[in-house]
Symmetry: C2
Subunit: 425 residues, 2 copies
């Protein structure tokens, strides 16, 4: 067990029951307040530990991190310079400073006050400047469901699906952080009973429940990352809502894949939970049959038992949980995704994002998109306010949450919450 | 006619006959030498005008460009700060300084010597840090050829093809500049007569002859760019070799499009030719039938008569020109590509790249890929050294060139030249 994960650790900062952010988590983000410019912070309970202020007061200098890595509006420089080992050491150093058994920061009243900011007073920003973004399609139930709807149940999975983690390049510029509202996109669609397409607001707006991860600086172009090395290049994870316009997608995506059906926006949660913090939640994955090629074989338990949920808050403010899924419902692991991604020599950089694809469990209540939950609109989903949903309506707020829990320690992601506004004329 | 395009202009810098870089061009790039750190430069004849040195000596201060925009290893800050109007004014200012009728720089012997660097002494770098890269599929002959080979001639074009410029997100991290060698990628493929895939070096390595363009900073996420506005967001153009592994592509690309078959490398020419410099080469495009939706309709002549060629230099050093195409062989214009890209509210940033897709003319000699030239390997292409090619072999160097010519003025791109090295074990 990595020391920072010890279930017995307690912080002198109050961590309310049910918080996603105990001392065993310490996820990294970028925040600002009315008085503080954007900077690196770490969530602890309902507070944020201000890493710039901490560095400025000398608490991080022995760890070898210069102030300028924290006084910026993105985590990229820190991730790039620190690397896997550096980020591990930094998290452990912060854990020591927050530990109730410690005195170094705990005993300094003025420094404590200066370095701890209530989350409710802070604005959370997009934590990384995303270089390239890749989306996978790695949940078998999701791929099966989509295959059943658009092809047939006997051939739901394409021949390649169990041989490689199918993925595609996504759009990085339109990735936004939780809280940023999304305008319903316009686009070109064609009705089933028409020869002619039309242009206008998307009618079948959907979310996709995913988890994304951000990478460290990789190898030079042409060099490959093996499955044994892959975890060394994974910084941490966050919730990812891969907004999708199903009607635009249907008309545009053959033969080159999803394009404008996805690129209008993707929303992520603001805290990067380090892979180290998720060690207690490792579980074995599915038996992969047929056996995968040697380059995709992996050792150990590379799947994670992290409960996920999706809520829809309707215009009246009532929230209905429409999906309860789990990150363990993956066929391909992050290790395999990154290994495959690198298998042609494609380089990754500090701040690239790879996302899981929609995470659907076998139970209908664990489907990760409205497309599946309403089975292409044929089974409306009941809302607690008495209305029903086939897809997402203007004024709806979609909220994704996730956390794991072991030995009484809960490690969570917070939430990604996005309101859908009407299309712009 | 924009003054900098005047065919009567002559520079006091010698411009050899047949040069791509007369005073009417003035393309921007990033260069360094043994003694000079990477910086912004402009090609003129066989020389480079060093914009950092020029700014340092005060020649650009009236134009309002601070030195730091030129003393960097990418054009992004200049593009972002200058915008369309600023880049136009900068090119005109440089044209005035290089004009044989001028005296301001011409008369200053020491400044001339300090600001002009022979191209043969310089290393040319990737001119932009690419944010997002999008590839289109906008040449009808190319789409038709591929459709004939992989589907059937009667249904070669997909139903959506003439209604929208089909495109997909590409990989930005692996875009490299001319001169950088490419390793043959490895990947997963499946032979037609097998149930099982294998992993190993790609056997069907191909180029794609394309032109790419780089964008200015766009509008906020959610806002659209109309076809009337699109040119205001186009900085300039360059040659683009969209390397493709046909065997990897065939196995991986259904249903989400090309991924590892493309992401191992794309190569670009080092000089960004401003759209302004290409004004003399505007031509009308094809009649678009069926008529496109109103948002894709455009005014004026938005296609460009720019001759393109592809050469293969075999291991012995003999070059064979295998394709002669032209940028006018496009069905969808850059204006339409950018308008469509933005039609869902997707934002663009200074330094994003959009590429044309393979540019194939109707004549077989004008096909822009080996896939088409050798018709899927069935018609080997003869090399001047007596060998033949179906696809690209290790040791081959692929060279793309392009230029337009009007009233005795030749505006060119230089070349993108890339040697293919064996796969890394």
């Amino acid at each position: 067990m990595i020391p920072a994960n010890n279930p017995a650790l307690v912080s002198w900062v109050d961590v309310p029951s049910g918080s996603d952010f105990p001392i065993q988590n310490l996820p990294f983000g970028i925040f600002s307040t009315e008085n503080l410019s954007p900077r690196v912070g770490v969530a602890i309970g309902d507070m944020i530990l201000d890493c710039e202020a901490l560095a400025d007061r000398g608490y991080l200098q022995d760890a070898g991190f210069p102030l300028e890595l924290f006084a910026v509006d993105q985590l990229n420089p820190l991730i790039k310079q620190a690397g896997k080992l550096g980020m591990r050491l930094l998290r452990e150093r912060l854990s020591d400073l927050l530990n109730d058994d410690g005195v170094e920061l705990k005993s300094q009243e003025a420094d404590r006050a200066a370095c701890l900011i209530p989350q409710k007073e802070a604005t959370l920003h997009l934590p990384i400047e995303v270089g390239d973004y890749t989306d996978f399609y790695s949940s078998e139930q999701h791929a099966y469901n989509v295959g059943c709807m658009f092809r047939d149940p006997d051939n739901a999975l394409m021949p390649n699906w169990k041989h490689l983690p199918v993925g595609y390049h996504g759009r990085a510029s339109s990735i936004v952080v939780s809280g940023v509202p999304i305008h319903r996109p316009c686009g070109q669609t064609r009705a089933d009973d028409s020869d002619q397409p039309t242009y206008g607001p998307c009618r079948l707006l959907d979310f996709e429940l995913e988890i994304g991860f951000v990478t460290f600086e990789g190898k030079a172009l042409g060099q490959r990352i093996s499955s044994a090395e892959a975890e060394d290049y994974i910084v941490g994870l966050f919730l990812f809502n891969d907004w999708s316009a199903r009607d635009i997608q249907k008309w545009e995506y053959v033969p080159l894949g999803p394009f404008l059906a996805k690129s209008f926006a993707s929303s992520i949660s603001p805290w990067i939970v380090l892979l180290d913090a998720l060690e207690p939640f490792r579980v074995a994955g599915p038996v992969q049959d047929p056996e995968v090629l040697p380059y995709l074989q992996q050792d150990g338990e590379n799947f994670y038992d992290i409960g996920l949920s999706v809520g829809i808050e309707t215009g009246q403010g009532d929230e209905t949980i429409v999906s309860r899924s789990n990150f363990k419902h993956m066929y391909w692991s992050m290790v395999q995704q990154l290994t495959h991604h690198s298998s042609n020599g494609c380089n990754i950089r500090a701040g690239d994002v790879l996302a899981s694809g929609t995470i659907s469990g076998q139970d209908e209540s664990a489907y990760g998109s409205m497309l599946e939950l309403s089975w292409r609109g044929s089974k409306p989903v009941a809302m607690t306010d008495g209305t029903e949903r086939r897809f997402i309506q203007d004024g709806d707020t979609v909220i994704m949450r996730g956390h794991g829990e072991r030995q009484g320690v809960r490690i969570g992601f917070g939430e990604v919450r996005s309101k859908v506004l009407p299309a712009i004329d």
